[in-house]
Structures are given as structure tokens and as C-alpha cells.
């Protein structure tokens, strides 16, 4: 897409966040969607495109009373919403729809109206990984880390640093689930889940939702909120099973998606003021920083240890507290996008000064898929 042709004009999360026992999955989608429509000053009759993952876009459209001419049910895990943004931008430019609503809602903790986790026994994972006793993402997403650690001389302390820094950000966010400061020792001494990952290196499991509304940049001035323009987008997939990831020290889907987004945006890494990297587990920001080429291979642990991603650092990262401390419903990508939009609107809880360009980078599955969105609050000329 041409940079700056499409804008986010509505963005909101669910009214509550964390433990929400009175809303089912579809209720969380609706709550977020209603909040996003209110943010944009729009009603369901103004929306002509719908995208979602986890539930069918048909269900969301019917529930909200939307009659779409554009429907996207791309579902590749937690980064699906980055892909929805990318597809919606292309669709708007192509005239498939003018005003597209992207919704997410997940009762990750309370499981109200939520289905079971896991794939069929006939899937690749069912045949070739399930027989070895994996207990969900904490025991699969984490498998590549020891290879990274041996290759680059990293340790558990590097994982702990990620959690400590993000907790500092969360301390500034009243909506974050975990806000009390933690030390490296606290992280290392927490309950061991899947060695070497302790509980504080793993994401939360909470309830929530979020929604975005996109339209053409030409119309962006009609809306109350400060528009957030899309500069560049990328997406890719690699493998449905973590054991077949080509390189355990780097995600091919990250590299492909990130390179595509930066090429499209036509900006340099130094132009980025704020960064969100989907952190289901503490090693993900390390892989993300390297695979998006903010730092060289093996350099991310030192970059984080030196405070670059922390409050006051050169590249503020996961400023909502991330999946480790803010919230994680299951498909967290929507919350990374929401925080990028807030930072660019100047409305974030832990607002960074002078943010003009923000990158939201998501993962789906266990390094299976990826989506990258580069936003700016300045329309490129």
C-alpha cells in the first residue's frame, strides 16, 4: 500500500480488563466494538467491513447489526489483527469497503462462552508433537530458547530482564494486571513452569477485547480523535509446529513480515519512536528486536539490559506492560495495536514524549505466523 492512505479513526478496548465474568466471548467483542464506534462517532450502520479472529466474522456482523461488503476471517493466532489491519488497508484502497471494523474478544481466564484450546489429532501438531506431552504454549513456544542461549551466550537473567523492565512500564498503567515492581531475582525464583522459564517469564491469562476502525486517510479529519495513519504493513507464516521452525534463534515469519513493513513505509529503524513486540513469553522481545533489525543478532539481551527499552530509554518497548504484566487474553495482538494507537494519540497511561512513529509486531501460534504494522500520527506528504 501507499504509506498514509488509510487511517485508524476509532480504537478502544473493553470497558473492563482482567477478570470479566459477566461477558461471554461475543459480549467482549461487542463491548470493544461499541466503545470503538463511540470513539469514532459511528454506529453499526456506518460500518461496511468486518474482520475478526477466534470467532466467525459472520457472528460478529450479525451480533452488531453490520451489513458488510468486505469480510476477513483470517485466523493465524495472536497476530491475526495485524493481518486484518493490513488486509483492511488494501481493501479500503481497492474500494471493497470504506469503513472497516476489526474486533477481538477473548474470555481467556473466565472461559465464558469460550471453546477448548488445541487442534485436531490429525493435524501436524496432533500427530508429531502432542504425543510428547506438551502442556500448551508454555512448553512449546519456549523450546527454541535454549538454542538461542547457547548460540549467543544468553542466560535466564536475560529473560528475567525482559519481565522486570516491562513490569516497570506496567507500574504506570492502572489497567495492568500486575503493577508491583519485581527484581531479576523475583523472576528467577518464581515457580518453574517449563525449565528454564519461570512463571514470571510467561504471559498472563486474562479476559478482554479491543476493536479498531479503519477508513481512508482522506476522511480522517471527519473524526473526533487524532488520526493514526498506516505507513507500512507486513505479514508471513512459517510453520504450524514449532519443531519445524527453520532456525531456533530467529523467526523467518518475523523477518519477512518486518522487512516488508519497513520497505513499504520507507523509513529507517532509527525513525521508530515506540515499539510493541508481542510478548507471550520473555524471549519474544529478544527475537523481535533482532528479527526486525533494531539490533544485530545476539545483541538484544544487552540492548535490554542497558535500559534502551525501559522508561526513558531510546526505544520504549511494550509500554502497556505487555503480555507479561498488562493482559493476555490468548490472542494478544490487538492490545499491541491499541497501545501503538494510544501512544500516537498521546493518550497512553505511560505516555512517551514526542512519539511520531510506532511499530506493532505480532506473533501467531508458536513462531508460526507474524504481522507487522507501522503507524504514524503524521501523514506522509
Amino acid at each position: 500500500m501507499k504509506p498514509g492512505t488509510v487511517a485508524v479513526v476509532g480504537a478502544a478496548e473493553t470497558t473492563d480488563m482482567g477478570t470479566i465474568t459477566n461477558l461471554s466471548v461475543i459480549g467482549l467483542h461487542a463491548d470493544a466494538a461499541i466503545n470503538a464506534m463511540a470513539d469514532a462517532g459511528l454506529g453499526p450502520g456506518d460500518i461496511d467491513g468486518i474482520a475478526t479472529a477466534g470467532v466467525s466474522p459472520t457472528e460478529v456482523a450479525m451480533y452488531l447489526g453490520i451489513t458488510p461488503t468486505y469480510v476477513d476471517g483470517t485466523s493465524v493466532g495472536g497476530c491475526s489483527f495485524m493481518l486484518h489491519v493490513r488486509h483492511a488497508a488494501a481493501a479500503i484502497n481497492e474500494g471493497l469497503a470504506s469503513t472497516i471494523l476489526i474486533t477481538h474478544g477473548e474470555s481467556g481466564r473466565s472461559r465464558v462462552g469460550a471453546g477448548r484450546f488445541g487442534g485436531s489429532s490429525a493435524s501436524l501438531g496432533g500427530q508429531f508433537e502432542a504425543p510428547y506431552g506438551p502442556a500448551g504454549p508454555p512448553t512449546m513456544f519456549t523450546i527454541p530458547w535454549l538454542r538461542y542461549a547457547k548460540t549467543y551466550g544468553a542466560s535466564e537473567r536475560d529473560l528475567a530482564n525482559v519481565a522486570v523492565v516491562q513490569r516497570e512500564w506496567a507500574g504506570q498503567n492502572p489497567r495492568a494486571k500486575f503493577r508491583d515492581p519485581i527484581s531479576v531475582e523475583d523472576v528467577l525464583d518464581a515457580t518453574m513452569i517449563a525449565t528454564p522459564f519461570t512463571k514470571l517469564m510467561c504471559c498472563l491469562v486474562t479476559d478482554g477485547g479491543g476493536a479498531l476502525i479503519l477508513t481512508s486517510a482522506e476522511r480522517a479529519g471527519e473524526f473526533a480523535a487524532k488520526p493514526v495513519f498506516i505507513l507500512g504493513t507486513g505479514e508471513s507464516v512459517e510453520t504450524p509446529v514449532v519443531s519445524q521452525m527453520a532456525d531456533f534463534t530467529s523467526s523467518k515469519a518475523f523477518r519477512v513480515s518486518g522487512a516488508k513493513a519497513f520497505a513499504e513505509a520507507g523509513i529507517a529503524r532509527e525513525d521508530v519512536d515506540h515499539l510493541m513486540i508481542y510478548d507471550a513469553f520473555a524471549h519474544l522481545p529478544i527475537y523481535g528486536l533482532e528479527d526486525l533489525e533494531f539490533v544485530g543478532k545476539g545483541e538484544a539481551p544487552g540492548f535490554i539490559a542497558d535500559g534502551n527499552t525501559a522508561i526513558g530509554g531510546s526505544l520504549p518497548l511494550n509500554t502497556n506492560g505487555g503480555g507479561l504484566s498488562y493482559m493476555h487474553s490468548g490472542m494478544y495482538g490487538m492490545y499491541a495495536l491499541q497501545e501503538s494507537v494510544r501512544q500516537l494519540r498521546g493518550t497512553a497511561a505511560a505516555q512517551v514524549d514526542d512519539v511520531e512513529v510506532s511499530v506493532s509486531h505480532g506473533v501467531g501460534g508458536m513462531f508460526g505466523a507474524s504481522g507487522t504494522i507501522i503507524f504514524s500520527n503524521a501523514k506522509p506528504s
Binding site: 508429531f128 504425543p131 510428547y132 535454549l146 509446529v241 519443531s243
Partner: protein, 83 residues
Amino acid sequence: MFSASGRGTLYSYVINQRSMPGYEAPYSIAVVELEEGPRMMTNIIGCEQTTEALELDMAVEVTFEQCSDEIALPLFTPAGGAR
């Protein structure tokens, strides 16, 4: 298609510390790189389930666990017998 020797090296792993139905913690969930190149998920058995005993790149060899009359699951042990 080719025959695999059953020899390989330990590529990466975690040690699950929570028991699952049919799996008593701690147990390794590992990826082994076969001598012929491909990698596969497996469990490393026949040694302590600790990071000290499970050294990356150590030589491992296949052993089959008979799960039923029709299904034998390929697991791996440290090469040259249990440590």
C-alpha cells in the same frame, strides 16, 4: 524417503515441571536433530531431567516406546546408554 539411523543430537528443549495425564513431571520436551538432517519433537529419557544432564548438542539415539500393537513412539536416550 530414506532410512534414518536413529542417531542424532539434542537441538533444544524445555523441561515441563507440571504433570499432564500420562506424563509425570519433570519431563523434557525436546527437539532432536537427526544425523540425516531433519529435526523432530521427542522426549529424552534414560537420564536425569535436568539442564545439567540434558546438554545441548549431546549425542542421542532412538528408542521405541510401544504404545499399542500398532503404535511405537520414537523417544531418544543419551547415546551409549543411560548416564
